[in-house]
């Protein structure tokens, strides 16, 4: 379903230095699979997801979704539009158009996806009902609570029924109840046959949700597998432990060793 082959993304710093955000990343995600893309800050997760969502182009490599090649830089193929048709993109950082109502917002994004009007209205009604938006569907978004906003964001992501969902830290900064809403949404999307790629720092939240995990560090894939496979590789029980262990093996300095005065046993258990 999703196929990344030797993807590179190079940025130039202000000083003219090359910064390899993604460095030869290759991975495959099957249809209906929920894939957790993990990594420390600056590992290249957001850059990878942005390329996957068609927001930016890789410097080199090949990216295909649903059998359609969106980027093949060696052959000068760049077709982000077809990629965007197949992808629903959600982050916790993105805002809503405060002066539009959820219904108007869903209609807008449906029109941008080129959905015929009659189908679009039916889809909107279905999403409003499914996500419990009906009560505030015709009120402007500007005064919404975080939970209401996230529901509208989820509905917006699902307009056009994209087969692939790309979620970049979707629970970042959200409260517990809204977190649960997002996790439920991810689970339901997987059950509905959608492919989901999720990037997050909240490892405990996704360890029950994702079927496979990929750990990237400094733009490279360190390890990939199911939770059981990662446990077997690292000898750790929890996903966070596996994560720490795998990073420490290749880059011990990346694991902060902070001894706080008066605080014993700062290492934490895995």
């Amino acid at each position: 379903m999703i196929e990344l082959q030797d993807i590179h993304k190079v940025f130039l710093t202000h000083e003219g230095r090359e910064l390899r955000a993604v460095d030869g990343l290759s991975l495959r995600v099957g249809r209906g699979e929920i894939y957790g893309l993990l990594g420390p800050n600056g590992a290249g997760k957001t850059t990878t997801l942005r390329m996957l969502a068609g927001l930016i182009a890789p410097t080199s490599g090949r990216l295909a979704v649903d059998g359609h090649v969106a980027f093949d830089m060696s052959r000068h193929v760049e077709d982000p539009l077809s990629l965007k048709h197949r992808i629903g993109f959600l982050t916790a950082k993105t805002g809503l158009y405060g002066r539009l109502t959820p219904r108007e917002l869903l209609r807008y994004f449906g029109e941008l996806r080129g959905i015929p009007r009659a189908d679009l209205e039916a889809q909107i009604e279905k999403l409003i009902a499914a996500l419990g938006i009906g009560e505030f569907a015709d009120r402007r978004c500007e005064g919404f609570s975080t939970g209401q906003q996230q529901r509208v964001q989820i509905a917006r992501t699902l307009v056009g029924e994209p087969p692939v969902l790309v979620l970049d830290e979707p629970t970042n900064g959200l409260d517990v109840l809204t977190n649960q809403l997002i996790l439920k949404f991810i689970t339901e999307a997987g059950r509905g046959g959608r492919t989901v790629v999720i990037s997050t720092h909240h490892l405990d939240e996704v360890e029950e949700v994702c079927q496979r995990f990929g750990l990237i560090h400094k733009g490279r894939l360190l390890a990939e597998g199911t939770l059981d496979e990662l446990r077997a590789t690292t000898g750790r029980e929890r996903l966070s432990g596996c994560f720490r262990e795998l990073v420490a093996r290749v880059d011990p300095e990346a694991i902060p060793q902070v001894a706080l005065p008066g605080v014993a046993g700062g290492g934490g258990a895995a």
Binding site: T59, F89, T91, T94, L100, E104, Y108
Partner: protein, 477 residues
């Protein structure tokens, strides 16, 4: 290929969003509708207050020598002009009317008062502001001028000295009043001398040049057009620019500040379709703003000024062509504003980036006010300036304007299209879309190679950006 349905979707959404934005509503609709009537009201009230104040003013005048004070005062008060003198029944024809109708014969009205006094140290008092003027008259002034003249008697010119403080408004006012009164008195004396010698007024006026209204071949519309032709292009272009400013910032930087841009570009829509929809919104709001501004301005002008401007004949025939010319110009400014604002990461930065877009044309448009500058040669394709000059020509009702009109229209359309393409190109750039990332020190390789390719044309802009960043760093430090 561009998908027009998506452009329409963006346009409809942005119009709806903008018309619900209090800031845009205020700048686009409320300000133009209320500004001119309020301005006119304020100016009118201020004029009334100033007039009332002026009428109740008292100016102190010292007369030298002191013994002539009472006579000079009586003389000046007699000939002192009154506020809003109505013309006599014979109009302004000096041949038919007495040279002056003494003020004492007219209806007394409230007017500034001259208080005459004597002062031992008048010059110092004038410098200190205690006096507003000093009138130094020769001793024979009153007696000599009032005495009847024999027909063969010789006359001489007397010198009167009028001291005042040129830096003080009140002193200048006193000087003007004294001048008018003495001038009126002089004309009266002249009339009497002519009568004493049995001479007609035509003796002093062998001929006159009649350039009355009926000898002016210019139509009333053309005369009004001549007056408005230099002012209106500036006004039209100013309202177009100000109308595009607020929506252009809101539709670009606003998206970034509200964190909705990433959502938008994640949708299957091309940058050109997004920018085209936004561009149409900005252009529509700019034109709406311009129309409201001009309507409000015209109505206020006609309502308040109609009784004072009886000869005001607006050259309506020039209006359709003018509005047609303003369309591509509105497109041009809207696209330029969008392109400039796309670079900005916040409102403050956007306001700095758009500054040259409205300062440079406004300074350049001063050319329109220079007599002798004609719409020909390279000026036919000079952006903005060509439109301003053509509007001036249209208001002057010049013949054979079809060819320049086509030149200006086509060239401005091309500039507008180029500006839209530039805005779309800028909007599609990764470093513009993810500027927060870029600010942290990263540019994509593609973007940087693009930057290298276009460096010659954009070096100044990027240097400016670099300095603005450094400046903000220094300020933060």
């Amino acid at each position: 290929m561009i998908d027009l349905l998506k452009v329409r979707a963006v346009f409809v959404k942005e119009m709806r969003d903008s018309l619900r934005d209090r800031r845009t509503l205020f700048a686009t609709i409320i300000v133009p509708v209320l500004m001119y009537p309020l301005m006119m009201l304020v100016v009118s009230e201020a004029a009334q207050v100033a007039k009332a104040k002026r009428a109740s003013e008292q100016y102190r005048v010292a007369v030298q020598p002191p013994e002539l004070r009472a006579q000079v005062e009586a003389l000046v008060q007699t000939y002192l002009p009154r506020e809003e003198e109505a013309p006599g029944p014979a109009g302004d024809d000096p041949a038919k009317t007495p040279l002056l109708q003494p003020a004492a014969e007219r209806e007394p009205e409230e007017a500034p008062q001259l208080l005459f006094q004597t002062s031992p140290n008048a010059t110092e008092a004038l410098k200190a502001g205690e006096l507003q003027a000093i009138l130094n008259v020769p001793r024979e002034f009153v007696a000599l001028l009032d005495a009847p003249l024999a027909p063969d008697e010789r006359t001489e010119t007397l010198d009167i000295q009028l001291f005042y403080d040129g830096a003080e408004h009140r002193s200048r006012q006193a000087r003007d009043l004294l001048h008018e009164a003495l001038d009126a008195y002089r004309k009266d004396v002249l009339n009497r001398r002519l009568a004493a010698r049995d001479l007609e007024h035509s003796f002093l006026l062998p001929f006159r040049i009649d350039e009355g209204r009926e000898y002016n071949v210019a139509s009333a519309e053309k005369q009004t057009g001549s007056a408005l032709g230099t002012l209106l292009p500036l006004l039209f272009i100013f309202v177009l620019i100000t109308g595009a400013l607020s929506p252009a910032i809101d539709l670009t930087v606003g998206e970034k500040e509200r964190s909705t841009l990433e959502t938008l570009i994640a949708a299957p829509v091309r940058p050109l379709e997004v920018i085209a929809g936004k561009f149409l919104t900005v252009a529509t709001l700019a034109m709406l703003n311009a129309c409201l501004n001009l309507t409000s301005f015209t109505l206020t002008f006609l309502a308040v000024g109609a009784d004072r401007l009886m000869d005001f004949h607006f050259p309506w025939s020039a209006l359709p062509a003018t509005l047609l010319l303003l369309l591509p110009l509105g497109f041009f400014f809207s696209a330029l504003m969008l392109a400039a604002c796309s670079f900005a990461t916040n409102y403050k930065e956007a306001q700095v980036f758009v500054l040259p877009i409205y300062v440079v044309p406004m300074i350049g448009l001063m050319v329109v006010t220079i007599p002798g500058i004609e719409l020909e040669g390279p000026l036919l394709v000079a952006p903005v300036l060509n439109t301003a000059l053509l509007i001036r020509e249209l208001f002057l009702d010049r013949p054979n304007l079809l060819q320049p009109f086509l030149f200006v229209l086509v060239s401005t359309c091309l500039y507008a299209a180029a500006a839209v393409a530039l805005a779309a190109r800028i909007f599609a750039r990764e470093e513009v879309l993810f500027q927060r990332k870029a600010r942290c020190g990263c540019f994509s390789a593609g973007a940087s190679s693009g930057l290298r390719r276009t460096r010659s044309s954009e070096t100044r802009f990027w240097c400016w950006r670099w300095f603005s960043r450094r400046g903000s760093t220094f300020r933060a430090a």
